[in-house]
Symmetry: D2
Subunit: 461 residues, 4 copies
């Protein structure tokens, strides 16, 4: 099958043709990788069996050599013949070892003693080696941007309406904090990925035939794989550790989607505060050559919409009849795709955010637009604090008047004798803010730094 015979866009488009993504992800998330992880688990078993004296050391040496010869193609061919994927894997190993060694391949194991551990291990590896490092890169990019722009005045927006002033760095620091938080969450759920080696129904029925303490045997096998066992398992591991892992990724994906939405809104023709960098040869539109579309931000949002709902499958897969049914088997084969999509979006976002064009002219122009009205909040609060009994309503009406007449709110207040006695109590600093609402940014810059410092330390950046 050729690349473009594929149906899934991750395969033929986003990962399959993306050299850097392919190299990063192939060794964990491809089917080839899955089979090679399964072989690792089978080998770990033989190793422990030989150490425990159940079989000869040579069985381990033989197996170690044998598994290098097993290819995904071969395993699939054998599966075609016998219709059982793990038994096929076992047969492929056994083909390459002596009769004496044969019985110890897959000894006392059930298929999911292999599958669960192979999956937990590769998810752990890809999280530790790719997902988290790439998220840290994005976090670093955001921190740099936030710190650089910590004093860049921006009008804060609520409901899409101009609200109170902030700085652009402060805006970014919000993502720094939320993403930092999700990185911690992904780390925690990764650390909690578990294994199992308790046999067909979880009672160690088979291993109990040979070991006095089969839980100790389980621990030993999993230790080879750097995994800890579930406290309890049936044919399958407790599914919750996987649900938590995917939840941490999807809730992180929501943060990416929020960044993407905000940026493409700030890139609107009328707002224009930021822009994706645009290649010289890049075509904006097939018919409108002048367009500079936020296509990368749009792609991140679009991938999010595709992958977010898949959490539903994870919850449904927590439910398995009795000691398990197999209705989580095909569905769990789609988990690697979620991880791949997330990594692709993290990388894409990092690339755009690290070169984000910040247009200070537009930031200023937008701020100026409602500058006058912005004084409303401090005016109302200061009036109230200095004793005005109904400051909120008073200012609400004055802003309506200001809106109608065009007279600045500031001037309306100065010329209204009814509030004179309160205005006299204002400090110079307070008056400055009324006169120049650009100063009304609270602790935006300081907070930006604080948040960035916190996450730099917390995440060892």
């Amino acid at each position: 099958m050729e690349l473009f015979d594929n149906i899934n866009p991750i395969d033929f488009r986003y990962y399959g043709r993306n050299t850097s993504a392919f190299e990063k992800l192939n060794k964990y998330l491809s089917e080839k990788a899955f089979i090679s992880y399964q072989l690792k688990v089978e080998l770990a078993l033989v190793k422990v069996l030989s150490e425990k004296g159940i079989c000869d050391k040579s069985v381990y040496t033989e197996t170690k050599k044998a598994i290098d010869k097993v290819s995904a193609e071969e395993v699939y061919k054998e599966e075609d013949r016998i219709h059982h994927n793990i038994r096929a894997l076992v047969n492929c190993i056994r083909k390459n070892i002596s009769d004496k060694a044969k019985p110890f391949i897959h000894f006392t194991a059930t298929s999911y003693d292999i599958v669960e551990n192979a999956n937990s291990l590769r998810y752990k590896d890809v999280a530790e080696n790719v997902v988290i490092p790439d998220l840290l890169e994005l976090e670093k990019t955001l921190i740099e941007l936030a710190v650089r722009e910590k004093n860049t005045l921006q009008i804060g927006r609520t409901h899409g309406q101009h609200a109170e002033p902030i700085t652009f760095g402060f805006t970014i620091s919000g993502y720094v904090s939320r993403l930092g938080n999700r990185i911690k969450s992904i780390k925690a759920s990764t650390d909690n990925l578990r294994g199992k080696f308790s046999g067909a129904v979880g009672c160690y029925n088979a291993s109990g035939l040979f070991f006095k303490d089969p839980e100790e045997f389980e621990k030993a096998v999993l230790k080879e794989l750097d995994l800890k066992p579930c406290l309890q398992s049936s044919q399958i591991a407790e599914p919750e550790h996987i649900t938590d892992f995917i939840h941490s990724i999807i809730s992180g994906y929501s943060v990416l989607a929020n960044i993407a939405d905000d940026m493409r809104n700030l890139q609107r023709s009328e707002i224009n505060e930021v822009a994706e960098i645009f290649g010289k040869k890049q075509v904006g539109s097939s018919t409108m050559p002048h367009k500079r579309n936020p296509i990368n931000f749009e792609n991140v949002k679009s991938m999010y919409k595709e992958f977010m709902p898949r959490i539903i499958t994870r919850y449904l897969d927590q439910i398995s009849d009795h000691q398990r049914d197999l209705t989580n088997s095909a569905s769990s084969r789609f988990i690697p795709e979620i991880i791949a999509a997330f990594v692709l979006s993290v990388n894409r976002l990092n690339k755009i955010m690290s070169k984000l064009v910040v247009d200070k002219d537009s930031l200023n122009k937008n701020f100026e637009k409602n500058k006058n009205m912005i004084a409303a909040e401090p005016a109302y609060i200061l009036l109230a604090a200095h004793g005005h009994p109904d400051a909120h309503e008073y200012i609400r009406e004055k802003t309506l008047e200001s809106g109608k007449t065009g007279t600045k709110l500031n001037e309306l207040l100065s010329s209204d004798s009814s509030v004179k006695k309160y205005l006299e109590k204002f400090t110079k600093e307070q008056i400055k803010i009324l006169e120049n609402p650009g100063n009304y940014t609270g602790i935006a810059a300081k907070k930006t730094e604080k948040v960035c410092d916190y996450w730099k330390k917390e995440l060892n950046l």
Copy 2:
């Protein structure tokens, strides 16, 4: 990239290695197919332009030859260079034609004038040539099974509890009817797949430069593709026709899932009324060689759990900012996978259901288990009909007594003088049913036939 470098299990496992599925689906759902459909749309445009005298007939002839030379690989390579997929496609065509012809490729079109039509067309083609015919095969299989087993006594189950008698054929006729209904729904949503050729924002701005009635031009282009235009469109077609199409598939998938669940429950060790046929060389379990697992039914359910939640993406994709944003672009590339998964499950289910083992001994044994209690319903109803003022409560207590003492309900009634006067009014037929509840199947057989006949006619089977 090799097959097992893929991440998505449809690609590397369920479709990619399944010759029959591959042959069926590749020409509609692969990326290669998508590009070839896009070329068809570009050609249709040129054809109409030449017919309308906007360009020379030779432009059409040139283009017709040119598009045969364009490969997916080439288009992707060009996209790498200019970062725009449809402009890349256009460039690849233009490379192979004369300067004179060049301007008429993609003339007045926006990218989505190509993409929307290519998608609607391939979805229509795959639905008409694969999805619906394969569903009809499954429907035929179910009808045969239903008719064959229309008189096979089965205990009806509600809440997993034995309720009233039915026949196994009647059970199957329930799926016949629901699936038939979904086939109609898929047909209707397929027929309603629409196209558009209204330019970048839907006002025919560009085509309006050359045509007095650009809607007539749109219709002409779409007629070449056997598509009808949306009544209104923006840069994109009205998204609802796609949502409806996917809804019809997913609600059909729910019916498959219901069949799969029922069958795997009827295959439980304790129930054993049906079984998947089992290959001679097939391995039931890697450690429990005696197992005969309903793995195909489990696979259908598992795939359903993976694909059902993706309707959420379709609803989200109905929302697009103003004349459209691009956040439906990546996500809509995953639609073909839903169709592929559905077809795979339909085929799998057809294969198992056509060879389903129906175990009449078990059906009878299960029926016998609560045969005595089954008389409760007709007993209560007949008592009531013949004048007993509180028949339901009376029978409820008698069944409790029957359960405790083991005496048959029938005998408890005969020996209770308080109900004698009612029992005397019973007809012979009514008494027969109390004595042999196996006769209490209502119109199960007749209804089975009626339902099957209805759908055979309705679907021209």
Copy 3:
């Protein structure tokens, strides 16, 4: 329990305190209404029984009087005692009738013969009397707005970027068409709501004891309720008709959400093309008295986010073990809430859209912003049509130059001798468009009218 003891915001806030919504919806969607619909079904049964001579006419007369006395409170109290809701309902009716009549209440029926019909009927009633009429009101509002503003120039936006000119009426006509389409879809799914009266497992086991053709009996009962039976049923009706009904509502909700998103984006401080009308006493923000937030549009989107995912429950409820399990019982009790929420959003949107403030100054100002660049598309297309071999690339570069230098694209072209030979071929009209891109609206106005006329006719407005 007091109103504010409730937990659900529909109950205590959006419907419970909204007199007009309450009056509209209470009689179909409240629990009180549900019970009264169940009583209607029980009465229809008795009516047919008396007509068929199974019981005396007086039984019907008695029952008709009796059901008026049954209250929801009473039924619930009886359910507390016997733990079965429909048997409780039956007991409450029986309490008020003679011993002779008692047996014929619920005669041969299973609970879901009552529940399914009561639900189908009230959903049908609420759809026909509220959902569809209210949607038609909204459609009328949108049509009026579209027609009124059919010539109001607006810059079309794709990717949030200025694209090609349209008119504001044309924008609205897009919603007219999509909503019209959804109204048709809701009508169709409403017409297809089905009933059943086939007993505990669907074989007419009980009714078959008394009727030669129990399907005819079923039809007669349902005819009393103006419902048609499912072709096949088990204990429950085929669930697909409900899934289709809810799908039609939710996909309609997505259209509302799209309108809401677009409007709140157009209301952004920087864009300002539309605004929600704002009450004189209304408070925009608790601390920022100048804010005019699009809170109604935000509410519609928010409700959509709450209710859209509930389609998942409907798909899951399509699956029921064998002749049914009860796991669709509690969940289906939440369906009325989806309908209520949708109606509330339709009404809210109608209210705002009917008073929508359209700010023509802002529309013009926004259009002017990139007016110069807008000529790019017609320029490139006309150049191409008149023989320029690489018009798209040529114009792409010229727009970059125009962006950098500030010189109008138009002027750049006039002063470039390399394109002179093409420009000379332009018609006067074509040149007009290059000079004043405000003319480049294609058939916006005409299409707006056409779409509105179509839906006025199609929906009998």
Copy 4:
């Protein structure tokens, strides 16, 4: 509005009429409770203001008295007038205090400084006082059941097929462990519920007018409420803490759903290993008086299907434009319902599981059914361990033979000279297991105890 005028079944049925649930949940989850928590937050603010010397101590005393007089009804009435819920609340407080005190109500706060804290606090309170204690009750019930039945032989089931023996206590211990794990997860997400008091856009713009270190002021206010602030906030708190909280509940709900599914399957007529206790007056079915349906287990599953998909809303609500849009406002009002539904299901499950009927006769009868075949796994493994080169295939064929001929697997082996040399090496204990597979339960009992002990300690039960 009367109870049965409500539309939502939580309100009119599951909580509204359930005295114990009502008493538990009303004070946290009703709208009344929400408003009273908002008042608490407003009071905490005034308290800190008075402590910091911004206002007089008497303002606090006045306010403390005033808030007791504010009712939900009153706040709603005021909201009707001014269309802003928090400003309405503020007005209601202000009505009851002196002019001097008035300005300090809501001083420097934005609405969401009140709303976010009120919600975090009531969610925390309900989690700590109801959700977690009730879960612990259920956990205790499960532990008691597991320990009591730790030696009760049960056939383990995979794919619905008889697999290897376990004990019923071991089955239950699987739920003990998974639920224990979810309780920990809910505890952790509860502890992480956060507050904010950073003003309209998160920069402390208003509070910064009066406090040198407004973050310290924020901390002080939140300390009054026993909450910690988010590291960063905009108008709203970082939404992830809520998503995590709901995820922990929903993934816990999946465990309940798994228990419910397993139990209702074990209650099937053919399996009959467990049963819900059944009231004396309880009606099993309106037409089938003998039915004993697992209606409570079915209810738990049904509620799960209704509430599980609502996680989608939480992910969507993580996305808010810029410093926030209001599209999370209506939707977040539905969160209390998720908590209520979960508690109701926990209580229901606890009630049934604490009185679960365990039928040892059926357990034994089911075990006996395939007892002979069960020896297959130990037989194959022991043969392999003792040197048989192809034990799995050998046993697979013997079980097929045993199935066909009815001869016990054990006897087939003894009479087959080809395996004699391996069988001679078996220990007495190993032979015992082949002869009586009821001994082949591994460490089921020991593991059950271990798991239960672990969670008793871990959760301080």
